[in-house]
Protein backbone atom coordinates (compact mmCIF):
# COMPACT_ATOMS: atom_id res chain seq x y z
CA UNK A 1 0.00 0.00 0.00
CA UNK A 2 1.33 3.41 -0.85
CA UNK A 3 1.38 6.13 1.72
CA UNK A 4 4.86 7.52 2.15
CA UNK A 5 4.89 8.18 -1.58
CA UNK A 6 2.06 10.60 -0.95
CA UNK A 7 -0.57 8.79 -2.92
CA UNK A 8 -3.49 10.03 -0.91
CA UNK A 9 -5.97 8.95 -3.55
CA UNK A 10 -4.78 5.35 -3.48
CA UNK A 11 -4.94 5.38 0.31
CA UNK A 12 -8.42 6.87 0.29
CA UNK A 13 -9.65 4.09 -2.02
CA UNK A 14 -8.13 0.99 -0.49
CA UNK A 15 -5.63 1.84 2.22
CA UNK A 16 -5.65 0.62 5.79
CA UNK A 17 -6.18 3.28 8.45
CA UNK A 18 -5.45 2.27 12.04
CA UNK A 19 -6.54 4.39 15.00
CA UNK A 20 -4.99 3.70 18.40
CA UNK A 21 -7.05 5.13 21.27
CA UNK A 22 -10.81 4.69 20.88
CA UNK A 23 -12.12 7.68 22.78
CA UNK A 24 -13.21 11.18 21.78
CA UNK A 25 -10.37 12.02 19.38
CA UNK A 26 -10.17 8.50 17.93
CA UNK A 27 -13.90 8.32 17.25
CA UNK A 28 -14.21 11.79 15.72
CA UNK A 29 -11.17 11.13 13.51
CA UNK A 30 -12.60 7.83 12.28
CA UNK A 31 -15.91 9.50 11.46
CA UNK A 32 -14.12 12.27 9.59
CA UNK A 33 -12.13 9.72 7.58
CA UNK A 34 -15.37 8.15 6.38
CA UNK A 35 -17.04 11.54 5.84
CA UNK A 36 -14.17 12.53 3.60
CA UNK A 37 -14.62 9.46 1.46
CA UNK A 38 -12.13 7.03 2.95
CA UNK A 39 -13.28 3.67 1.54
CA UNK A 40 -10.46 1.47 2.79
CA UNK A 41 -10.18 -0.67 5.90
CA UNK A 42 -10.51 1.01 9.26
CA UNK A 43 -9.28 -0.57 12.50
CA UNK A 44 -9.97 0.95 15.92
CA UNK A 45 -7.73 -0.19 18.77
CA UNK A 46 -8.68 0.78 22.31
CA UNK A 47 -7.53 -0.63 25.63
CA UNK A 48 -10.75 0.23 27.43
CA UNK A 49 -13.48 -2.39 27.04
CA UNK A 50 -16.15 0.24 26.35
CA UNK A 51 -17.30 1.91 23.19
CA UNK A 52 -16.12 5.54 23.04
CA UNK A 53 -17.69 7.56 25.84
CA UNK A 54 -17.64 11.16 27.00
CA UNK A 55 -15.56 12.15 30.03
CA UNK A 56 -16.78 15.63 31.08
CA UNK A 57 -20.00 14.27 32.63
CA UNK A 58 -17.96 11.87 34.80
CA UNK A 59 -16.96 14.62 37.24
CA UNK A 60 -20.33 16.38 37.03
CA UNK A 61 -23.63 14.54 36.38
CA UNK A 62 -22.19 11.14 37.30
CA UNK A 63 -20.85 12.20 40.71
CA UNK A 64 -24.12 13.94 41.45
CA UNK A 65 -25.82 10.58 40.92
CA UNK A 66 -27.91 11.87 38.03
CA UNK A 67 -26.30 9.75 35.32
CA UNK A 68 -24.80 6.28 35.48
CA UNK A 69 -21.05 6.08 34.83
CA UNK A 70 -21.79 3.71 31.95
CA UNK A 71 -24.34 6.05 30.39
CA UNK A 72 -22.13 8.67 28.79
CA UNK A 73 -21.46 6.95 25.46
CA UNK A 74 -20.61 9.46 22.76
CA UNK A 75 -23.23 10.06 20.10
CA UNK A 76 -22.07 8.89 16.68
CA UNK A 77 -22.07 11.23 13.73
CA UNK A 78 -22.30 8.36 11.24
CA UNK A 79 -21.86 4.63 10.84
CA UNK A 80 -18.19 3.65 10.73
CA UNK A 81 -17.82 0.17 9.26
CA UNK A 82 -14.72 -0.40 11.31
CA UNK A 83 -13.04 -3.36 12.90
CA UNK A 84 -13.07 -2.68 16.65
CA UNK A 85 -10.36 -4.17 18.80
CA UNK A 86 -11.60 -3.05 22.21
CA UNK A 87 -10.03 -4.14 25.47
CA UNK A 88 -6.82 -4.44 23.46
CA UNK A 89 -3.78 -2.31 24.25
CA UNK A 90 -1.22 -1.34 21.65
CA UNK A 91 2.19 -2.16 23.12
CA UNK A 92 4.63 -1.14 20.43
CA UNK A 93 5.14 0.55 17.10
CA UNK A 94 7.43 -0.46 14.25
CA UNK A 95 7.75 2.72 12.21
CA UNK A 96 9.78 1.23 9.37
CA UNK A 97 7.59 -1.83 9.01
CA UNK A 98 4.39 0.18 9.62
CA UNK A 99 3.10 -2.19 12.25
CA UNK A 100 1.36 -1.76 15.59
CA UNK A 101 2.02 -4.49 18.13
CA UNK A 102 -0.85 -5.54 20.35
CA UNK A 103 -0.85 -6.87 23.90
CA UNK A 104 -1.67 -10.39 22.74
CA UNK A 105 1.38 -10.44 20.47
CA UNK A 106 -0.62 -9.90 17.28
CA UNK A 107 0.54 -7.21 14.86
CA UNK A 108 -1.60 -4.88 12.78
CA UNK A 109 -0.18 -3.37 9.60
CA UNK A 110 -1.19 0.12 8.64
CA UNK A 111 -0.76 2.48 5.76
CA UNK A 112 -1.59 5.48 7.89
CA UNK A 113 -1.79 5.56 11.66
CA UNK A 114 -3.56 7.94 14.00
CA UNK A 115 -2.41 7.99 17.60
CA UNK A 116 -5.01 9.29 20.07
CA UNK A 117 -4.04 7.54 23.29
CA UNK A 118 -4.80 10.55 25.50
CA UNK A 119 -3.86 10.61 29.14
CA UNK A 120 -4.61 8.80 32.39
CA UNK A 121 -4.93 10.11 35.92
CA UNK A 122 -1.62 10.68 37.65
CA UNK A 123 -1.54 8.09 40.42
CA UNK A 124 -0.64 8.82 44.05
CA UNK A 125 3.17 8.85 44.30
CA UNK A 126 3.47 6.26 47.04
CA UNK A 127 2.40 2.94 45.61
CA UNK A 128 1.48 1.19 48.86
CA UNK A 129 -0.66 4.14 49.91
CA UNK A 130 -2.27 4.31 46.49
CA UNK A 131 -3.63 0.79 46.90
CA UNK A 132 -5.46 1.59 50.16
CA UNK A 133 -9.17 0.99 49.99
CA UNK A 134 -10.71 4.46 49.55
CA UNK A 135 -7.87 6.07 47.57
CA UNK A 136 -9.20 6.82 44.09
CA UNK A 137 -8.48 8.73 40.88
CA UNK A 138 -10.90 9.98 38.22
CA UNK A 139 -10.37 9.65 34.50
CA UNK A 140 -12.28 6.62 33.22
CA UNK A 141 -15.88 5.45 33.47
CA UNK A 142 -14.76 2.66 35.79
CA UNK A 143 -13.06 5.11 38.12
CA UNK A 144 -16.14 7.37 38.03
CA UNK A 145 -18.37 4.41 38.92
CA UNK A 146 -16.17 3.59 41.91
CA UNK A 147 -16.14 7.17 43.16
CA UNK A 148 -19.89 7.58 42.63
CA UNK A 149 -20.49 4.39 44.69
CA UNK A 150 -18.33 5.78 47.49
CA UNK A 151 -20.30 9.01 47.51
CA UNK A 152 -23.56 7.04 47.57
CA UNK A 153 -22.30 5.35 50.73
CA UNK A 154 -22.11 8.80 52.38
CA UNK A 155 -18.52 8.95 53.59
CA UNK A 156 -17.84 11.05 56.65
CA UNK A 157 -15.25 13.12 54.83
CA UNK A 158 -13.75 13.17 51.36
CA UNK A 159 -10.25 14.50 50.84
CA UNK A 160 -9.54 15.88 47.37
CA UNK A 161 -5.83 16.19 46.65
CA UNK A 162 -5.25 18.93 44.07
CA UNK A 163 -7.57 21.81 43.16
CA UNK A 164 -7.37 21.84 39.39
CA UNK A 165 -10.56 21.61 37.34
CA UNK A 166 -11.22 17.94 38.09
CA UNK A 167 -10.48 18.29 41.81
CA UNK A 168 -12.69 21.38 42.06
CA UNK A 169 -15.55 19.69 40.23
CA UNK A 170 -15.31 16.68 42.55
CA UNK A 171 -15.41 18.97 45.61
CA UNK A 172 -18.40 20.77 44.13
CA UNK A 173 -20.29 17.49 43.63
CA UNK A 174 -19.54 16.44 47.21
CA UNK A 175 -20.89 19.69 48.61
CA UNK A 176 -23.97 19.52 46.47
CA UNK A 177 -24.64 16.10 47.96
CA UNK A 178 -24.07 17.42 51.47
CA UNK A 179 -20.83 15.48 51.95
CA UNK A 180 -18.02 17.08 53.96
CA UNK A 181 -14.97 17.67 51.83
CA UNK A 182 -11.46 18.96 52.37
CA UNK A 183 -9.40 20.14 49.41
CA UNK A 184 -5.63 20.21 49.78
CA UNK A 185 -3.81 22.29 47.18
CA UNK A 186 -0.08 22.89 47.05
CA UNK A 187 -0.46 26.20 45.19
CA UNK A 188 -1.84 29.43 46.65
CA UNK A 189 -5.36 28.93 45.20
CA UNK A 190 -7.52 26.54 43.18
CA UNK A 191 -7.08 26.67 39.37
CA UNK A 192 -3.96 28.77 39.82
CA UNK A 193 -1.98 26.90 37.18
CA UNK A 194 -4.69 27.28 34.58
CA UNK A 195 -6.05 30.74 35.34
CA UNK A 196 -3.58 32.51 37.65
CA UNK A 197 -3.79 33.76 41.21
CA UNK A 198 -6.28 36.59 40.69
CA UNK A 199 -8.96 34.32 39.23
CA UNK A 200 -7.78 31.56 41.57
CA UNK A 201 -8.72 33.76 44.53
CA UNK A 202 -12.27 33.97 43.17
CA UNK A 203 -12.32 30.18 42.82
CA UNK A 204 -11.15 29.91 46.44
CA UNK A 205 -14.09 32.06 47.55
CA UNK A 206 -16.42 29.80 45.58
CA UNK A 207 -15.09 26.75 47.38
CA UNK A 208 -15.43 28.36 50.80
CA UNK A 209 -18.85 29.86 50.12
CA UNK A 210 -20.06 26.34 49.40
CA UNK A 211 -18.65 24.91 52.58
CA UNK A 212 -15.47 23.31 51.25
CA UNK A 213 -12.68 23.07 53.80
CA UNK A 214 -10.07 24.48 51.41
CA UNK A 215 -6.44 24.35 52.45
CA UNK A 216 -3.97 26.03 50.12
CA UNK A 217 -0.21 25.99 50.35
CA UNK A 218 -0.58 22.51 51.80
CA UNK A 219 0.61 19.15 50.55
CA UNK A 220 -0.49 15.72 51.63
CA UNK A 221 2.58 13.97 52.97
CA UNK A 222 1.10 10.55 53.70
CA UNK A 223 -2.10 8.54 53.51
CA UNK A 224 -2.62 6.08 56.33
CA UNK A 225 -4.76 2.97 56.42
CA UNK A 226 -6.19 0.83 59.19
CA UNK A 227 -5.51 -2.87 59.83
CA UNK A 228 -7.90 -3.88 57.09
CA UNK A 229 -6.17 -1.68 54.53
CA UNK A 230 -8.90 0.95 54.48
CA UNK A 231 -7.96 4.62 54.29
CA UNK A 232 -8.22 6.18 57.73
CA UNK A 233 -6.50 9.53 57.62
CA UNK A 234 -4.15 11.82 55.77
CA UNK A 235 -1.09 13.64 57.09
CA UNK A 236 -0.72 17.19 55.85
CA UNK A 237 2.47 19.23 55.49
CA UNK A 238 1.43 21.58 58.30
CA UNK A 239 1.36 18.68 60.75
CA UNK A 240 -2.40 18.22 60.73
CA UNK A 241 -3.85 14.74 60.69
CA UNK A 242 -7.13 14.68 58.83
CA UNK A 243 -9.60 11.82 59.14
CA UNK A 244 -11.14 10.84 55.82
CA UNK A 245 -12.57 7.64 54.40
CA UNK A 246 -12.17 8.65 50.76
CA UNK A 247 -9.22 10.44 49.13
CA UNK A 248 -9.38 11.42 45.48
CA UNK A 249 -6.02 12.04 43.91
CA UNK A 250 -6.57 14.84 41.37
CA UNK A 251 -3.00 15.76 40.52
CA UNK A 252 -3.37 16.05 36.78
CA UNK A 253 -2.75 13.61 33.99
CA UNK A 254 0.03 11.45 32.60
CA UNK A 255 0.27 11.07 28.83
CA UNK A 256 -0.11 7.57 27.46
CA UNK A 257 3.10 7.41 25.46
CA UNK A 258 5.05 4.61 27.18
CA UNK A 259 3.97 2.13 24.51
CA UNK A 260 5.93 4.23 21.98
CA UNK A 261 9.23 4.03 23.89
CA UNK A 262 12.00 3.07 21.52
CA UNK A 263 9.78 3.43 18.47
CA UNK A 264 11.73 6.41 17.16
CA UNK A 265 8.76 8.72 17.46
CA UNK A 266 9.12 12.00 19.39
CA UNK A 267 6.96 10.69 22.20
CA UNK A 268 7.67 11.36 25.86
CA UNK A 269 6.11 12.49 29.13
CA UNK A 270 5.00 15.75 27.54
CA UNK A 271 3.15 14.01 24.74
CA UNK A 272 3.84 13.35 21.09
CA UNK A 273 5.18 16.31 19.14
CA UNK A 274 3.55 16.90 15.78
CA UNK A 275 3.44 19.64 13.16
CA UNK A 276 0.49 21.95 12.62
CA UNK A 277 -0.90 19.34 10.23
CA UNK A 278 -0.94 16.73 13.03
CA UNK A 279 1.90 14.68 11.52
CA UNK A 280 4.10 13.19 14.24
CA UNK A 281 7.78 14.10 14.52
CA UNK A 282 10.38 11.42 14.91
CA UNK A 283 13.13 11.76 17.56
CA UNK A 284 15.29 13.70 15.13
CA UNK A 285 12.61 16.33 14.77
CA UNK A 286 11.86 15.20 11.23
CA UNK A 287 8.22 14.97 10.38
CA UNK A 288 6.72 11.60 9.43
CA UNK A 289 4.09 11.38 6.74
CA UNK A 290 2.11 8.33 7.75
CA UNK A 291 1.75 8.80 11.52
CA UNK A 292 -0.72 11.38 12.79
CA UNK A 293 -1.59 12.50 16.31
CA UNK A 294 -4.66 14.12 17.89
CA UNK A 295 -6.20 14.96 21.25
CA UNK A 296 -4.77 15.11 24.75
CA UNK A 297 -1.63 13.17 23.80
CA UNK A 298 -0.56 15.64 21.08
CA UNK A 299 1.71 18.69 21.32
CA UNK A 300 1.50 20.93 18.32
CA UNK A 301 2.78 24.38 17.39
CA UNK A 302 0.26 27.20 17.20
CA UNK A 303 1.07 30.29 15.10
CA UNK A 304 -1.16 32.54 17.23
CA UNK A 305 0.94 31.73 20.26
CA UNK A 306 4.42 32.23 18.87
CA UNK A 307 4.55 28.72 17.37
CA UNK A 308 4.88 27.31 20.85
CA UNK A 309 4.03 23.65 21.21
CA UNK A 310 0.72 23.46 23.03
CA UNK A 311 -0.56 20.40 24.85
CA UNK A 312 -4.24 21.04 25.40
CA UNK A 313 -6.23 18.74 27.61
CA UNK A 314 -9.50 20.08 26.33
CA UNK A 315 -12.53 18.36 24.88
CA UNK A 316 -12.85 20.84 22.02
CA UNK A 317 -9.23 20.44 21.04
CA UNK A 318 -9.60 16.66 20.79
CA UNK A 319 -12.52 17.08 18.38
CA UNK A 320 -10.97 19.82 16.25
CA UNK A 321 -7.55 18.20 16.03
CA UNK A 322 -9.05 14.81 15.20
CA UNK A 323 -10.93 16.37 12.29
CA UNK A 324 -7.80 18.04 10.92
CA UNK A 325 -5.67 14.92 11.38
CA UNK A 326 -8.21 12.75 9.57
CA UNK A 327 -8.62 15.26 6.78
CA UNK A 328 -4.86 15.38 6.28
CA UNK A 329 -4.60 11.59 6.32
CA UNK A 330 -6.74 11.36 3.19
CA UNK A 331 -5.67 14.58 1.47
CA UNK A 332 -2.76 15.27 -0.87
CA UNK A 333 -0.22 17.91 0.27
CA UNK A 334 -1.76 21.10 -1.10
CA UNK A 335 -5.19 20.27 0.30
CA UNK A 336 -3.97 19.68 3.81
CA UNK A 337 -5.04 22.00 6.60
CA UNK A 338 -3.30 23.30 9.72
CA UNK A 339 -4.82 22.80 13.16
CA UNK A 340 -5.43 26.44 14.08
CA UNK A 341 -8.17 25.92 16.62
CA UNK A 342 -8.41 28.62 19.25
CA UNK A 343 -8.06 26.81 22.60
CA UNK A 344 -11.32 26.79 24.58
CA UNK A 345 -12.76 24.89 27.51
CA UNK A 346 -15.56 24.96 30.02
CA UNK A 347 -16.01 23.75 33.55
CA UNK A 348 -19.09 23.69 35.76
CA UNK A 349 -18.49 23.91 39.49
CA UNK A 350 -20.45 25.28 42.44
CA UNK A 351 -23.22 26.26 40.04
CA UNK A 352 -20.89 28.54 38.07
CA UNK A 353 -20.10 28.17 34.39
CA UNK A 354 -16.37 28.80 33.91
CA UNK A 355 -15.23 29.20 30.32
CA UNK A 356 -12.04 30.24 28.68
CA UNK A 357 -10.52 30.92 25.25
CA UNK A 358 -6.89 31.34 24.31
CA UNK A 359 -3.94 30.41 26.51
CA UNK A 360 -4.30 32.13 29.92
CA UNK A 361 -0.95 30.92 31.34
CA UNK A 362 0.82 32.96 28.65
CA UNK A 363 -0.73 36.14 30.06
CA UNK A 364 1.34 38.22 32.43
CA UNK A 365 -1.44 40.68 33.10
CA UNK A 366 -5.17 40.55 33.44
CA UNK A 367 -7.94 43.11 33.10
CA UNK A 368 -11.49 42.59 34.30
CA UNK A 369 -13.59 43.91 31.43
CA UNK A 370 -17.13 43.00 32.52
CA UNK A 371 -18.82 42.28 35.81
CA UNK A 372 -16.70 42.08 38.93
CA UNK A 373 -14.49 39.62 40.76
CA UNK A 374 -16.32 40.22 44.04
CA UNK A 375 -19.64 39.22 42.51
CA UNK A 376 -17.91 36.15 41.01
CA UNK A 377 -19.56 37.05 37.69
CA UNK A 378 -17.15 38.54 35.23
CA UNK A 379 -15.17 38.45 32.04
CA UNK A 380 -11.43 39.05 32.22
CA UNK A 381 -8.83 39.21 29.46
CA UNK A 382 -5.17 38.25 29.71
CA UNK A 383 -2.41 40.26 28.03
CA UNK A 384 0.91 39.17 26.61
CA UNK A 385 3.35 41.57 24.96
CA UNK A 386 0.71 44.21 24.41
CA UNK A 387 -1.96 41.98 22.91
CA UNK A 388 -4.96 40.03 24.12
CA UNK A 389 -3.90 36.40 24.47
CA UNK A 390 -6.77 34.81 26.44
CA UNK A 391 -10.04 35.43 28.22
CA UNK A 392 -11.93 33.77 31.03
CA UNK A 393 -15.55 34.16 32.07
CA UNK A 394 -17.46 33.21 35.20
CA UNK A 395 -21.16 33.09 34.23
CA UNK A 396 -20.48 35.44 31.31
CA UNK A 397 -20.05 32.75 28.65
CA UNK A 398 -22.10 34.46 25.99
CA UNK A 399 -19.36 37.04 25.55
CA UNK A 400 -16.62 34.56 24.91
CA UNK A 401 -16.86 34.49 21.09
CA UNK A 402 -16.27 38.24 21.15
CA UNK A 403 -13.07 37.81 23.13
CA UNK A 404 -12.07 34.94 20.89
CA UNK A 405 -12.16 37.33 17.95
CA UNK A 406 -9.97 39.79 19.86
CA UNK A 407 -7.38 37.06 20.36
CA UNK A 408 -7.51 35.98 16.74
CA UNK A 409 -7.04 39.55 15.55
CA UNK A 410 -4.20 40.24 18.02
CA UNK A 411 -6.17 43.12 19.56
CA UNK A 412 -4.14 45.44 21.83
CA UNK A 413 -3.90 44.86 25.56
CA UNK A 414 -5.03 46.53 27.76
CA UNK A 415 -8.24 46.63 25.76
CA UNK A 416 -10.03 49.91 25.42
CA UNK A 417 -13.61 49.32 24.45
CA UNK A 418 -16.54 51.53 25.02
CA UNK A 419 -19.06 48.77 24.30
CA UNK A 420 -18.75 47.06 27.65
CA UNK A 421 -19.90 48.23 31.06
CA UNK A 422 -16.67 49.81 32.24
CA UNK A 423 -15.82 53.20 33.62
CA UNK A 424 -14.17 55.57 31.13
CA UNK A 425 -10.45 55.09 30.69
CA UNK A 426 -10.73 51.36 30.15
CA UNK A 427 -10.07 48.52 32.55
CA UNK A 428 -6.95 48.67 34.67
CA UNK A 429 -4.56 45.79 34.09
CA UNK A 430 -3.19 43.96 37.12
CA UNK A 431 -0.67 41.11 37.34
CA UNK A 432 -2.39 37.79 36.59
CA UNK A 433 -0.25 36.06 39.24
CA UNK A 434 0.69 32.82 37.64
CA UNK A 435 2.98 30.77 39.82
CA UNK A 436 6.68 30.67 39.02
CA UNK A 437 6.93 27.99 36.31
CA UNK A 438 9.94 26.57 38.13
CA UNK A 439 7.75 25.62 41.09
CA UNK A 440 5.81 22.39 40.82
CA UNK A 441 2.07 22.84 40.51
CA UNK A 442 -0.72 20.41 39.92
CA UNK A 443 -2.04 19.89 36.44
CA UNK A 444 -2.37 23.14 34.57
CA UNK A 445 -4.61 22.31 31.64
CA UNK A 446 -2.29 24.00 29.19
CA UNK A 447 1.39 23.27 29.12
CA UNK A 448 3.62 25.56 27.18
CA UNK A 449 6.94 24.39 26.01
CA UNK A 450 9.26 25.20 23.19
CA UNK A 451 12.89 24.77 22.36
CA UNK A 452 15.11 27.81 22.54
CA UNK A 453 17.57 28.04 19.64
CA UNK A 454 20.41 27.52 22.09
CA UNK A 455 18.98 24.18 23.20
CA UNK A 456 20.48 21.85 20.70
CA UNK A 457 19.72 18.54 22.26
CA UNK A 458 16.47 16.87 22.97
CA UNK A 459 16.47 14.55 25.92
CA UNK A 460 13.46 12.55 26.84
CA UNK A 461 13.05 12.01 30.54
CA UNK A 462 11.23 8.76 31.30
CA UNK A 463 7.80 9.31 32.82
CA UNK A 464 7.71 9.16 36.59
CA UNK A 465 4.98 6.67 37.36
Amino acid sequence: MPAADGSAEEFRRRGHAVVVGASLAGLRAAETLREEGFAGTLTMIGDEPHEPYDRPPLSKQVLLGRTGAGDTLLPRRRALEARWLLGTAATGLDLAGRRVRLAGGEEVRYDRLLIATGTRARPWIKETEATLDGVLTLRTAGEAARLARRLDARPRRVLVIGAGFTGSEIASACRERGIDVTVAERGPAPLVGALGGVVGAVAAELHRAHGVDLRCGITVTALEGDQAGRLRCAHLSDGTVLEADVAVVALGAVRNTEWLAGSGLAAGPRGIACDAGCRAFDVHGIVTDDVFVAGDVARSPHPLFGYQFLSLEHWGNAVAQAEVAAHNMVSPGPERRPHLWLPAFWSAQFGVNIKSVGVPPMGRELAVVQGSLTERRFAAVYGHQGRVIAAVTFDHGRWLPFYGRLIESAAPFPPDFAQVDRAPGGPRPIPAEFPDPALPTHGPTVTLSGYAPSERRVTFVPARV
Partner: protein, 74 residues
Protein backbone atom coordinates in the same frame (compact mmCIF):
# COMPACT_ATOMS: atom_id res chain seq x y z
CA UNK B 1 -22.95 18.14 23.88
CA UNK B 2 -20.44 20.71 22.81
CA UNK B 3 -20.51 23.00 25.81
CA UNK B 4 -17.88 25.24 24.28
CA UNK B 5 -20.61 26.30 21.90
CA UNK B 6 -23.44 26.48 24.41
CA UNK B 7 -24.32 30.06 25.26
CA UNK B 8 -26.87 29.16 27.91
CA UNK B 9 -29.94 30.24 26.00
CA UNK B 10 -31.84 27.49 27.86
CA UNK B 11 -33.95 26.68 24.80
CA UNK B 12 -33.13 23.01 25.33
CA UNK B 13 -34.21 23.11 28.98
CA UNK B 14 -37.48 24.64 27.85
CA UNK B 15 -38.07 22.02 25.15
CA UNK B 16 -36.85 18.97 27.07
CA UNK B 17 -36.94 19.76 30.79
CA UNK B 18 -36.43 16.09 31.74
CA UNK B 19 -33.16 15.96 29.86
CA UNK B 20 -31.62 19.44 30.08
CA UNK B 21 -31.56 21.76 33.07
CA UNK B 22 -29.71 24.91 33.95
CA UNK B 23 -27.51 24.49 36.98
CA UNK B 24 -27.08 27.93 38.44
CA UNK B 25 -27.33 30.77 35.96
CA UNK B 26 -25.36 29.41 33.07
CA UNK B 27 -24.06 25.90 33.60
CA UNK B 28 -26.01 23.28 31.67
CA UNK B 29 -26.63 19.80 33.07
CA UNK B 30 -27.98 17.12 30.78
CA UNK B 31 -28.70 13.42 30.64
CA UNK B 32 -26.21 12.02 28.09
CA UNK B 33 -28.24 8.93 27.15
CA UNK B 34 -31.95 9.71 27.56
CA UNK B 35 -34.47 6.92 26.99
CA UNK B 36 -36.57 6.56 23.87
CA UNK B 37 -39.60 8.11 25.58
CA UNK B 38 -37.70 11.41 25.56
CA UNK B 39 -36.99 11.24 21.86
CA UNK B 40 -39.48 13.85 20.69
CA UNK B 41 -38.35 16.26 23.39
CA UNK B 42 -34.69 15.79 22.62
CA UNK B 43 -35.22 16.30 18.89
CA UNK B 44 -37.09 19.52 19.60
CA UNK B 45 -34.34 20.65 21.96
CA UNK B 46 -31.60 19.94 19.43
CA UNK B 47 -33.51 21.78 16.72
CA UNK B 48 -34.18 24.77 18.96
CA UNK B 49 -30.58 25.29 20.12
CA UNK B 50 -29.45 28.51 18.44
CA UNK B 51 -25.80 27.46 18.34
CA UNK B 52 -26.18 23.75 17.41
CA UNK B 53 -24.46 22.56 20.55
CA UNK B 54 -26.53 19.36 20.74
CA UNK B 55 -25.57 16.28 18.72
CA UNK B 56 -28.08 13.43 18.79
CA UNK B 57 -27.68 9.84 17.71
CA UNK B 58 -30.51 7.31 17.54
CA UNK B 59 -29.50 3.69 17.18
CA UNK B 60 -30.50 2.61 13.70
CA UNK B 61 -29.66 5.98 12.23
CA UNK B 62 -26.57 7.64 13.63
CA UNK B 63 -26.61 11.40 13.89
CA UNK B 64 -29.59 11.89 11.62
CA UNK B 65 -32.21 13.66 13.71
CA UNK B 66 -35.20 12.39 11.72
CA UNK B 67 -34.32 8.70 12.03
CA UNK B 68 -36.36 6.38 14.23
CA UNK B 69 -34.87 4.13 16.87
CA UNK B 70 -34.91 3.12 20.47
CA UNK B 71 -32.95 5.18 22.97
CA UNK B 72 -30.60 7.99 22.24
CA UNK B 73 -27.27 9.51 22.95
CA UNK B 74 -27.08 13.25 22.93
Amino acid sequence: MDLNRCEAYAQCAFQAPDVFAMHGEEALMYEPCPGDERREQVMRAAASCPVQAILVEWPGGPAVPEEAGTGARG
